[in-house]
Symmetry: D4
Subunit: 249 residues, 8 copies
């Protein structure tokens, strides 16, 4: 019986007035802080806690949102793109774990790893590591085992091939690369699992802030590859976790 | 025991000469037709049959590739972007099922639907249907139940909301839209499953051949969304099937 | 009788010499400060006071322009994109109201709200608020009631839908969004009034400084939507006010 | 009393079962033709008939949609981007008025002109006329007086200035121009009403299919100007009509 | 008799050895400073002194180039894009005239104004003035009378029209504008002389660093307009001077 | 005494009524054909006949415009971008000279060559000739001696250098080139006269329809170079003629 | 002794008049056909015959150029981008070898293969073959052994790796690929020789006519890779031949 | 006998167990530092030492990589894009030669110049020198004689022509230019050797960060020209060295 049917039944049974039913149906499932509407039922609707995009928000605003969430029993809150300064400021009032490479913070505990298999995060170079760590940490916090294979770009293909068994046994792969973004295609040709490609803004000149890698990944001739926004490590980690928990896992 | 270990063991046991071992290790797992190298072990390596990208290939070339595959026991062969003319030509020699909307053909049988759940394909408008059908048919051939929700674009949000239960119970959603591509974000806000967004080249003026929808989808503020190339219905259907068969399903 | 006819008549009546008539016809309806030509009849011609675009002008230049206007009885002067520093500097000489979020300042009083109905300003996220406030304040100063619905982006469509009555009863809606800019289309599908879409430069990677939202809004499949420049909150507020005062209201 | 309240009241009064109420609340306000979902309540919700975007639809599909609409008492149906061939085909079964310049057709009657004032459509050159006529005819069908001022581009500013009284007395102006798109700014500087700018794909070389005019119009230094998609005459005409009917007119 | 003929004649007359003639023909007409090759005959070949592009050069390098030129009797040296810092540094060793608005410096005297007529420099707004001054000062230094009409953008067309006699009697016009760049077309429609359009990087959002104005000016529907690079005031002033000295003037 | 002064004087002298004066001042100096406003005083105001841009106009429309012009004593009418078909159609009614390479036609006589000097038209390759001829013919019709130097691209610099005396003695140079557009810079380094650069759409791949040549020419490091739109031979020829007639020549 | 020295010496010796010397020094080393300037000394100056770019030239023009060349003893003439129609037309008058895949024709004989080693041409897919053949045939005609490895794209990396010895022993490699263009980087990581990357326009959607492959190749993280224009097989073959004949080979 | 054959032979001979052979075949030829995988056999595989891309790496990371390499007997290590700060930091622990113009450092000795001929590096202007020096120093370190011809841009073609003998006798030419990038074509027309074109980000306005020069160079009509990424001096120097050592030199 759906929520709507329940409300209507209660109304019919006389336990609810018309006005009360209208209110119940329309009740806002979020907390309005003025500067932000915090979604308090998202955990139920979408299976994960709300995530706070930290860029462009003040420490005070972030603290306000965390408090609103925690008062609704959402203990694990993930904050991305959090500057060191804001992390320090928030820490004075709330206990958070902060990682300065990925600029991710979270409250509470990482979820227990209970996915279908392992999520493998590969990068083309060392400069792609901050984005890769944003993906890896997101996936770990959401309950996944993560394997990191960094600096295995295609210009030294033996470095990638010597890690072929990780690639071939992965549940989901996150391929993080800037410059020419060829990593996604090569990994896509080796693996049998979904590949999430993350172009990075690493590079110079004709990389045009990640455009080169983005186009390259979108045009991948390998099947099973899809792409998220430039530098969007969080999005890749979130999606990988969702895929790794398919089938109720 | 890996294939390599087996070969090495046989060599050590004297059942193979050094030369034979070299050949075995290097043996090409594809059939070289001159104009194409047909991958005969892909089914084993990647769990699906090779797919023929029909655009720019002659009927003769496609027939040659199908024959090569079928002689290696790959009975289900999928051909995408196949023109009516080439489909007619091929039909004279090989039995194929051809769908003129999606321009997809296949030999043999569709696989039995044995995925985790249903794949829902939604489109913003009626002009997006050819791309959507390429995705839907690909997924069906690879063994998935597919639900089609066409013409539910965000400018008439009630059409989408009245189908909310399909959206919310889907295993994977493929969101196909041209013009402003907002469908992916709205669906992404409603659903709890992975969303594969397919921008289409439908539109005019500042849609710039699908660029507008592509950028829109890449920038989706909804989590769980990833993007494939403009008009790449096949890629979306293939990836959706892979996700819908996670965990050995 | 038009101004021209009046002048010609006076000339014919001998009350004006040919030279005087030439001068009158050609008389510059603006005050030439050297670095700027201040339009003193604009209030009459276009129904509103001149607006000063504050970016790139020194505090001294702005003070000069305000003085020139006030000496022509234009008491309400609006200054946009005004830095805190320049606002402080100007305040030493002229009484202004300054809002640091929207970076708008104005002299004199806000006009009495006398439009047809309410102008509703919606934003996709919290980062869009500065641009939205530039629009909202502009509209208020020009004499409009403004309703603010912030952080109702399409990825959480229930937040927007729970405010549906504001949307459906608005006189004009200003939809402010960065990233994928889908808000304009969804609002456009719900409302029966003109929608002014304002893309913002909020986002990263493939948002390309607001290009993604701009293209998305231009391609909106909803009717009744038009678009102003990226981050142009003032333009949207000004136009919304003009529409809200149609028919002599 | 809202529709929802009415349904709930009827339920409470026992005139409706829970199941019937669920159905009523969820009832689809559109007719599902398979290839299209026709919106039958739009006239009520948005004050105008559904518009059929004719490009990429077959004559049969368009006839089906018209029939579905007319059976719901929507007599005036507007079809845009309709080819001569399809118009001829449709005419065999349904009486339509077809204009080959604008490629617009409509059934039934033009609405009586009952707006606040006149809508003035100006073009920069003669090549912009088809787009301008799409706007003008749309506005006329929706019930507006339309004044056409064609070929008054800014390179011969006296042609525009000699029509200054039309510009200055307009209720809404639609400025249609390709190439450098300067018309919108100049008109915007003369007029006191809302200006809807329509960039066209007229031009060659660095006009890049209308991009030049589009950017020019978005950057207009005149206030009161907003922009629709390249060649989107319909969108401009529709929005102009909406603005011209503000305040219940 | 050409230089080549003279050399050959001297050779034939026995006053030069073959080796000397080879050297004379090949002699480098520039002074090699290592970091720059200073062109010492340019004044003769092209009628003006060499110009030093100051951006990216150190004060020492600029001093070195000036010294090399002055030792070849090139007294008037023009330096563009010179920072205040470098200007101060250079002034310690060489007498220069420096204008901080246009960032132009020059040694020696401005040439006497001896062109065909007046060069009129118009700008759309006040922010375009630095580029306009670069053009105006360049033209003055090269010997031209310059009239400045600043802040006469097309959104207030009466400001431009009230200066129509300057426009119509100009010898060459330099139209400097950012944003939508419409000024060039309007001026081009009024004037009978060559118009040099200078797009500026003034603007925000969809002005994309001057791209909007550049495209607009290239697409000008007015005849007689040509365009130089974004912000290239020097190039416009130089070319205007050349045109104003046509026919040996 | 200006036209305005004359009218006002006549009015004062009682030879004109106020109404007549209003009419005279406002009298449209163009003939309104409905689809076009033909400018009948342009010859007087701008010194040349109106030019008809033939692309996108029917033969009938062009004939109508020519007739309107000729009835106002404008005997030399220039039509650009005229297809062979339309030229044939027009020839049945009006005597025109048509050149199928440049697709230019004109009525009446070419003007006598009376400019300051020679206009030199250079092209990089043979494919640039149609655009070059549009420029050359335009200049000849407007009364200029034209020298053609075709296929002297910079990849074979000796071909250009062996024509150095033409370059160095030119009055104005029109440099027409596609692909990399380097011709403008090299010519600009050799010549002492104004250079008008015309990028062409000749090329493939990364020439992007003339964008490469356009950017190259805009960035020319040679002074004295300005640029017109891609393939705009007419614009270059018109401007060159104007420059070549500076100083009343 | 250089040509110049010889001429000067002869002059000094009295065997040449000044006028004759001037003529000799200036003599055009090309044949002027009006529509083209054929370079008759290029073989001597640059070591290869002139190449005719066939696109946009008529059969008659091409025949004229060939005749001019052959009369100067340039027997091997290469014509690229030659349509079947023109090839048929030319064949009626001149014996040519025409390849319809690469659209290359040549007269005379292929040069004897005398380079340092082998040139290996690899392609990502079968659709890249026409461009690859343009490169391969060009190299063969200019005297090189060519190995073709087609359809070895990175999505099936084993196909490339099983041909690793060809890659590793090549003298020069030409990597031809569309879509994501990753082939160049992977090959670049395996090989020790110069790699010439040729992006192709093969692909759809976000390949943007080869832009994706072009950017990808320019950003290659492998050393030793350089890039030519999209689809420029000839340029790659020519350059590869030049490199393969380094050191006088 | 290949390495693989050797290992297999040893195995067959019983000198190796299956496990040992598996390890040997799979042994990683790189040193895994966590943040980077250092390639220790590259010198053998590709003939040069590993190069460290210094941008975005800390001094500590670079020291770690150098130490890892040197412990594998790679004495000459090249570091590019090294800031002065990091160079100072590294110098405290390791002896390096640092050049502040090109921002290149290296350990050990420059290789003896043993190439086929000379590598000539030309630049268009003085601002291109840092990129040119990156190319020149790279080539010298890898064992090449380098000739520098700086500031010989095409706008002063005589400066280039007076150095024609260097151009014509070069083994490889590296053409470095920003702005319009015409240098590559002109040099390409003069020289008989491979030309590597390096676009630079020098310029402003429509140079769009080097895009103008990049497109110009890709479209070069001269044969024998290929292009590397914007500002990629290292890549050009590396490739030039490889070409200059063709044939075992």
């Amino acid at each position: 019986m759906s929520e709507l049917e329940k409300i209507l039944k209660t109304l019919k049974d006389g336990e609810l007035s018309v006005e009360e039913a209208v209110i119940k149906i329309k009740t806002q499932p979020f907390d309005d802080l003025g500067y932000a509407k915090v979604d308090l039922q998202r955990k139920i609707r979408q299976g994960t806690a709300e995530v706070i995009y930290g860029a462009g928000k003040s420490a005070e605003e972030i603290i306000g949102i965390i408090n609103s969430m925690q008062s609704s029993s959402q203990n694990t809150v993930l904050i991305t793109r959090l500057s060191q300064e804001n992390a320090d400021e928030i820490s004075k009032q709330i206990t958070i774990n902060y990682d300065s490479v990925s600029r991710i913070a979270y409250t509470g505990e990482k979820a227990k790893a209970d996915g279908i298999g392992k999520i493998v995060v590969v990068t083309g170079g060392t400069s792609d590591i901050p984005v890769a760590e944003e993906a890896a940490l997101t996936a770990e916090i959401l309950g996944n085992d993560v394997v990191r294979l960094y600096d295995v770009g295609v210009a030294g293909i033996h470095r990638l091939l010597s890690n072929k068994e990780y690639i071939m046994s992965a549940s989901v792969i996150i391929a993080v690369a800037g410059m020419e973004g060829a990593l996604a295609s090569v990994v896509g040709g080796l693996a049998e699992c979904p590949i999430i490609a993350v172009p990075t803004s690493v590079g110079y000149g004709a990389s045009f802030g990640g455009l080169s890698a983005l186009l390259s990944m979108l045009n991948s001739c390998a099947s099973g590859v899809s792409v998220v926004n430039i530098d969007n490590g969080f999005g890749a980690g979130f999606l990988a976790s969702r895929i790794n928990h398919m089938g109720g896992k």
